[in-house]
Symmetry: C2
Subunit: 203 residues, 2 copies
């Protein structure tokens, strides 16, 4: 049973947590997914209360660690030494990823040594200013560290995680239930293309 | 300022509420979106606590009423006379919609007189058994009542709502922030096509 940690914080972008959560929480045989945060209850950017399932340092023992995003939540999290110091992540033994502005956290944790990441279009210039080159793709990865940009690119990030852990068939089975009715083929093509084109540094 | 009500209930499919919520809650100028439920706190199918913003009967004064879904949540809601009797909806003055199994609620409320709806692929046979023909499209509408199937078809449902109320440019501006980075054109084509092809009864 793999352990998947979704990292949450106050003022996170609601869908950047809940889309990964919903896709992954449907499977209770192959993995356990938990929302981890600094406190027992967080508040999203749009004002929803979110109960967390464990503390941030539990991410250090997880097989997969995925950072959510938030225009105001990410800068606040990065400025919070208690938040940042909780992590002892290791790409040699963990799959690590981020959606949208979550890439800023990966950068600060030293997890983007190549200095390149996918992020939300509106965060590109701030990412560049922080010393990380914004990639043009909605999803990219280097080894075991992946970044995705634009909320629905969570499809590609989660798809990559599941395919890496359990293969392409499990990836299809995992994503199919959330795809628009009758459009599984269209979205399968988008997902496969994004994952295949996400390898390495050349766009 | 338009009022948009998202109808929630215990055991709802997490993303079927949160995707509509996140897309719509980003705009605070043109509309107010609220999650309405029978009680102050609900629990999602995957176990999240959801605080509601108002009671179900507030939907009767809303400009837009959108029903979420849930494999176990919808049958329980339909069997709950307190839930069902709260609604006095009127397609003559309201835009009304559902995602996935939410179509069963619309049918029971008498809002699908043509007897046809889009729903989640896994709910098609149950919909047929309940006397409503499952449509092949991910999104369809008749007049002011729309149904969508497959969680991400919420893009089409919400897009249709915003376009009906405020036009195509506002629809684009509303959906763009959640689309995968660099893929706005691909998704715009999918969204426009789904909305255009969603008109009326012929698939």
């Amino acid at each position: 049973m793999k352990k998947i940690a979704l990292i949450a914080f106050d003022a996170l972008t609601d869908i950047d947590l809940f889309l990964m959560w919903d896709i992954l929480a449907r499977n209770r045989q192959d993995w356990q997914v938990q929302i981890l945060g600094k406190s027992g209850t967080l508040r999203s950017a749009h004002g929803l209360l979110i109960d967390t399932h464990g503390s941030l340092d539990e991410a250090n023992q997880a097989d997969v660690v995925l950072f959510s995003s938030g225009k105001e939540g990410v800068p606040a999290a990065i400025a919070d030494s208690e938040f940042m110091s909780a992590f002892r992540l290791d790409p040699a033994r963990q799959l690590i990823g981020s959606i949208c502005a979550g890439a800023f956290i990966l950068a600060r944790l030293g997890l983007l040594p190549e200095g390149r990441a996918a992020t939300h279009p509106e965060a590109r210039e701030a990412l560049r200013a922080s010393g990380v080159l914004p990639d043009d793709r909605p999803f990219m990865y280097h080894g075991n560290v992946a970044t995705a940009g634009g909320c629905l690119a969570a499809l590609y990030l989660v798809g990559w995680i599941v395919e890496r852990l359990f293969g392409a068939e499990k990836r299809r089975d995992t994503l199919r239930p959330v795809l628009p009715a009758g459009q599984a083929d269209v979205f399968e093509a988008l997902i496969v293309s994004a994952i295949r084109q996400g390898a390495g540094c050349t766009a």
